[in-house]
Point group: C2
Chain length 324, copies 2
């Protein structure tokens, strides 16, 4: 069998997740990791190259998985690379996705490439479930919960406060509210009341804990309006307990099929490694990108535009027989 | 807006579920119910006709939802009706689905129709989730649990025993096992040990409870190998407590993304009315069938072959903006 040849662009958490995740897929192989940093400095056994040399691999790679940051990397790397390669990314700046799609789609079409954008779990699997839940139960109410898990963005924001040496921020969903929703009760949901924030902080030696805690709790956009708990811990405890990146969450819909009958659909994720799971979703959609390009179905697509069978290495016939 | 014109074929539980469910969808309208029974005998306010007159509606219906039984109705009605109409069905004889697909597909293609087969929740949403879970977490283990809910087939089988006046059989999943799986523990799963069966029986006046109970518990295929509890109740209690058709279940996958990191994906349903929810899924896929036929994408399809956006009444642009 011809294996699907994969390239990884950007070697952060997600890039490393793709590297390790590809080992689970015998129909795929990793051709190389492409970084803006000197490849020799990357801690990897896989072939690594400078991203500016990537065009040498134009005919050696079927799909590039773009693992850069959503803030500045993907909006630049996506449009540049889709000209030459099929791509998959986990772009997660929700508000900018339509604009990004409109940038990627014409370039992909013109160059006969496939771009699968904004995969992962949110956006990604959660989006897909939100759509299906709403289409099946239009007369109802949707709820999204995130966590318990580390929010990289919030942890970074706390780390930027003067006096903070290390920080991890956990988003914690209201389990009582979740249980009520799953039991069919009516609840008054809004995102802020449905989540609390737990922050674990290692202070610099001379820092003032009272001041740091106040600064965290009053940080606009990130913490204002949320019930936030701040704990100061030692560097040892931080290293032992707060280095991993668990996450998860759920998308629930309560909907009436008739006046008397309630249905509840619940899609939930519990992830010991957020980047590895996001990578796992990217890998499955890389297979979809490959198959779509084989069928000459070029252009940009989101998870909402891709039939499930494209994610699988099995044939439609085998799937119908084994899974339906 | 032009509404999508729907016909219902067969007026049992599922047919009634589609009738009531269509009221939730302002972009659809019910043209008529088609039954093998005299329409005047059906308890409905909707227009009802004899199914043999259905060809008069060839140009007045966009999609027929086939609500007949899977055992004998669908295998006959499907191939006959796909020649003239787009169809959706909830055919659930798992082992026969490939054969049914192969019967429907060429007729649909030849007559430029779309057949969406085997929708509902199992087959249907559960199948789709099994596929996605396995494609994303290939290194793992899948689990399906059904219930707590009424199994129509098992209830019917008990009702056929001499001395039984009324019966309801509940399939009950092992909640302890589910909790262990969701907690990431390794369990020894097989379908029989993961479920018990609860049977509520109203006896005929002269019946022998010991004999009936023995006959239930020793019924091959249905009860042998399952832990089964039998309760004898009064007709009043039966009418008060066991007339509705709740069901549900879940499809779970535990999978390793790397040596150390476990991910758990859980898709679960809790349904006060199994037929109404199945109908709700059928209705969303009827919209998909309509859109696919508008795009001239003819032939037979399962839920595995249909991109999520087809289920929604919103445009791809709106979905990208609002749900992704
Ligand atoms: N859709 C979803 O569900 C979902 C879930 C999680 C994350 N995401 C998205 O995935 C994106 C990537 O996440 P991530 O955790 O992989 O980000 P990250 O670790 O910060 O990596 C981003 C980029 O920064 C560079 N980099 C990484 N480590 C570095 C270091 N030590 N020194 C200098 N540069 C370094 C890498 O590019 P070079 O190798 O080129 O230097 C890498 O591609 C996030 O922006 C987020 O938007 C999406
Ligand atoms: N995929 C899934 O998840 C899923 C879930 C649930 C059910 N299903 C499938 O859906 C199928 C239909 O289920 P259902 O509960 O609607 O079956 P049902 O109530 O037994 O109806 C089946 C057919 O029997 C006829 N019928 C109904 N009531 C009757 C009556 N009182 N007297 C004479 N005939 C009557 C109707 O046809 P006429 O109007 O032409 O007489 C009807 O279409 C099942 O076979 C099952 O396979 C699938």
């Amino acid at each position: 069998m011809n294996k699907i040849k994969i390239g990884i662009v950007g070697y952060g958490n997600l890039g490393q997740g793709v590297e390790v995740g590809l080992k689970n897929h015998p129909d795929m192989e990793l051709v190389g990791i492409f970084s803006r940093r000197d490849p020799k400095t990357l801690d990897t056994q896989s072939p690594a190259y400078l991203v500016q040399d990537i065009l040498d691999f134009k005919d050696k790679i079927d799909v590039l998985i773009l693992c850069g940051g959503s803030k500045t990397d993907i909006p630049k790397q996506g449009p540049a690379l889709i000209e030459h390669f099929n791509t998959v990314d986990a772009y997660d700046t929700h508000a900018e996705i339509p604009e990004y799609f409109n940038k990627m789609n014409p370039i992909a079409e013109k160059n006969q490439k496939v771009a699968v954008i904004a995969t992962g779990w949110d956006p990604g699997l959660f989006s897909m479930n939100r759509l299906m839940q709403e289409a099946i139960l239009p007369n109802g109410q949707s709820y999204t919960f995130w966590g318990r898990g580390v929010s990289q963005g919030h942890s970074d924001a706390v780390r930027r406060i003067k006096g903070v040496k290390e920080a991890a921020q956990y988003t914690v969903p209201d389990e009582m509210m979740i249980n009520k929703i799953l039991a069919g009760e009516t609840v008054d949901y809004n995102q802020k009341d449905a989540h609390t924030r737990e922050v674990y902080v290692v202070l610099e030696e001379d820092a003032n804990p009272t001041k740091v805690e106040k600064e965290i709790k009053e940080m606009p956009n990130y913490f204002v309006g949320y019930q936030t708990g701040v704990s100061f811990i030692s560097e040892e405890e931080f290293k032992a307990e707060h280095q991993s990146m668990p996450h998860g969450g759920r998308v629930i819909r309560q909907g009436k099929t008739s006046k008397d009958a309630l249905s509840i659909i619940d899609f939930s994720l519990s992830l010991e490694s957020n980047p590895e799971f996001t990578a796992a979703v990217n890998i499955a959609y890389a297979r979809a990108a490959y198959k779509l390009s084989q069928e000459e179905k070029y252009g940009a697509r989101t998870v909402l535009d891709i039939a499930p069978h494209y994610l699988s290495s099995k044939s439609r016939e085998d799937l119908m027989r084994d899974l339906l």
